[in-house]
């Protein structure tokens, strides 16, 4: 037995150390927990929220992802390894991964998905799924019937003169099934500028084809404020701006225009010229324009039935303080949902940045809910939401 002493000693040392280490790893928190506490208003408003983003708890660690729904936080790091690999912060993509896996196969999880009671519609380009190869100008639409699990796919060629454009990009989508509207951006090599065209397709036509509805004035070279990700698939309105990148070296926004997909017209809103970088939001109740002023937004409702479109002031929406920036995100059932980026004076090494959630009654401006992301540990001031990727309501 003595001749095995060294081997036993090394094996014992290894087994004990690795076992203790494994136990410590299993017990260690992979991510600092979060809470959404109510600072003001009725906490039940938070129950319907869906949020997803990243937590920052220390400068030396990666920012782990989280989702919030039904009043609970879930952390990506707590998922099983294989679930983490396929996880998306987009709840619809996760639903498709779990329940309609074959429909999601071959489709980019970063493209456009819209779900209704009976269908799920996917739109993307060929470049969305294979960006290393040639970028052919094809739009791919797939419709899943949730009742029968049948999938119908359409490959639509963009009728583009490709001499002067090198890449086509779906910048905005409006779905009113079976009609779909796309704002396609292309880069004109000759003029070195972005150009946008509006296309439509009726998926119930005998042979669905993309039809060019309108070519946008090349002066208008930016849509939706340059935001590539926050497509509101329920919004019939498209925001168009002219941005000057040349004169000062910094982008300078010019006039703002709004296009109505359904009416196929540029809305004539003279009062827009008096507003300074407004935010455009829409809901079932119509089109709303929020004009930022000092520490607040003036909310206007646009009467699109008239020409020119008139704006009538609805309310004023205030932020919580001088060190915060309120960002209105969407409107639902007469409520304006915003998130607020706040800067507080704390000595934490990770900085002094927090995100709050604010819900206002759009008609009165009253705050019905304000919540803040904090750590359950009152001693820990160093945990905050670093980036909010998804902000919506549970469907």
């Amino acid at each position: 037995m003595s001749k095995y002493l060294k081997l036993i000693a090394f094996l014992s040392f290894t087994v004990v150390t690795m076992s203790v280490y494994s136990i410590m790893q299993a017990m260690a928190q992979s991510v600092e927990p979060l809470e959404l506490i109510t600072l003001e208003g009725d906490e039940t408003y938070a129950d319907d929220l869906y949020l997803a983003g990243y937590v920052n708890s220390d400068v030396n660690t990666l920012n782990p992802g989280f989702t919030y729904g039904h009043g609970k936080f879930n952390y990506v790091a707590d998922l099983s390894f294989f679930n983490q690999l396929d996880h998306s912060l987009n709840p619809l993509v996760n639903e498709l991964t779990n329940e309609y896996r074959s429909f999601l196969r071959g489709k980019s999880p970063y493209a456009t998905f819209k779900e209704s009671e009976t269908q799920i519609v996917y739109t993307g380009t060929a470049a969305d799924v294979y960006w290393s190869g040639e970028l052919d100008n094809q739009l791919i639409i797939s419709v899943l019937d949730k009742l029968t699990s049948e999938e119908t796919s359409y490959t639509l060629s963009l009728p583009e003169d490709s001499e002067n454009s090198s890449y086509l990009d779906v910048r905005d989508t409006y779905i009113q099934y079976p009609n779909m509207y796309f704002t396609i951006g292309s880069y004109n090599v000759a003029t070195e500028s972005n150009e946008f065209n509006i296309y439509a397709v009726n998926l119930e036509a005998a042979e669905p084809q993309l039809e060019l509805i309108r070519s946008i004035d090349p002066q208008l070279n930016e849509v939706n404020g340059g935001d590539y990700e926050q497509q509101n698939l329920d919004s019939r309105y498209l925001e168009l701006t002219s941005v000057d990148y040349e004169t000062t070296g910094q982008p300078v926004s010019g006039e703002l225009y709004i296009y109505d997909y359904i009416e196929d017209k540029m809305l004539n809103i003279p009062d827009l010229e008096t507003l300074n970088s407004p935010r455009i939001l829409s809901s079932a109740a119509g089109l709303f324009i929020l004009n930022p002023t000092e520490q607040k937004y003036e909310a206007y409702q646009a009467d699109t039935a008239t020409d020119p479109v008139s704006l009538s002031k609805v309310s004023e929406i205030s932020s919580s303080g001088s060190n915060s920036q309120l960002i209105p995100s969407f409107i639902s059932n007469g409520l304006l949902y915003s998130y607020e980026e706040s800067y507080t004076d704390i000595t934490s090494q990770i900085g002094n940045y927090t995100i709050n959630i604010q819900i206002n009654d759009l008609n009165t401006g009253e705050v019905v809910y304000r919540g803040e992301f904090v750590s359950p540990d009152e001693q820990n001031n160093d945990v905050h939401v670093d980036y909010l990727d998804q902000f919506g309501l549970i469907e």
Binding site: M24, T61, F81, R105, G106, V129, Y130
Partner: protein, 282 residues
């Protein structure tokens, strides 16, 4: 069965006795290098911080905001920690080759005595394979202990205002090397070390091919290695062939790669068994 097990344990012990000094050498280098880093690292940081704060008229808070604080994680990016890890990887790669070739060194080639033992020849193979992993995991365990001790040393040497406390669990989750050699999820740990096991098996097969067929055996071994690598990474070509990066889910791709790796491991074992039984003769 019991007798076979006894022979196997004896073989493992025999191989361990032969590896012991090599392993101890690397362990001593690891300890010395790590501990030197735990002492020199914080002292250098503080000295540099004081110099910079003086030169640029910065307060402590301003210095930390600009240049960052000092933590165990800072040290894990230095050669004091990474050097011995690299030495260990290269050392065991070398030893995986040497563990076979040493049997043929000298006039009285020891391999014949091993092959004459009243035990399955695959026990020789598995004993050598096992001992490589005993060595690797012993080194890993020592590194964990070293990091744990190091966290106390650097916390006592670094002024509190400059120090950012991190547990060993947090440290091994950052950077590139530690998440690979000490992954914090069981599935990744098993996956990485299974791939390592397959890699060593393929290496052993190459060596046995060379020892069996000599000059012809070496290119055969290289071809086998390239074919194995190609087979294991072939699932990644599915997206290239289908011209679709999402034809397989990430989880499916990983599972297929692991299955293919296990197939390669099994084939390596079978080839090695055939060579040991039929080609390397007494």
């Amino acid at each position: 069965m019991k007798k076979q097990l006894q022979y196997f344990i004896r073989l493992v012990n025999f191989e361990f006795e032969r590896m012991y000094k090599f392993l101890l050498g690397i362990m001593i280098i690891l300890i010395l290098s790590n501990f030197a880093g735990y002492i020199i690292g914080p002292l250098n940081y503080v000295s540099k911080a004081n110099e910079t704060m003086k030169l640029e008229s910065l307060s402590t808070t301003q210095y930390i905001e600009t240049y960052g604080s000092f933590s165990l994680e800072t040290l894990t990016r230095s050669l004091w920690i990474l050097g011995p890890i690299a030495l260990g990887i290269i050392g065991f790669l070398f030893y995986s080759i040497f563990i076979w070739y040493r049997e043929w060194l000298g006039k009285n080639t020891f391999i014949y005595r091993l092959l004459m033992l009243p035990t399955s020849r695959m026990h020789i193979y598995f004993a050598k394979l096992l001992i490589i992993f005993v060595g690797i995991f012993s080194l890993l365990s020592l590194q964990i202990i070293s990091l744990w001790i190091g966290s106390f040393i650097i916390s006592s040497l670094t002024p509190p205002e400059f120090f950012s406390a991190m547990t060993v669990s947090e440290v091994v989750r950052t950077g590139i090397i530690f998440p690979m050699i000490l992954p914090n999820t069981l599935e990744v740990f098993l996956g990485i070390y299974s791939l390592g096991l397959v890699a060593i098996s393929v290496l052993f097969t190459i060596i046995l091919l060379e020892r069996s067929y000599r000059i012809k055996g070496f290119p055969l071994g290289i071809f086998y290695a390239l074919a194995s690598i190609g087979f294991i990474i072939s699932p990644n070509l599915v997206s290239l062939i289908a011209k679709n990066n999402y034809i397989l889910f990430n989880s499916e791709l990983i599972i297929i790669v692991v299955i293919f790796a296990l197939i390669v491991g099994l084939v390596s074992l079978l080839i090695s068994r055939y060579l040991l039984k039929n080609k390397i003769t007494v």
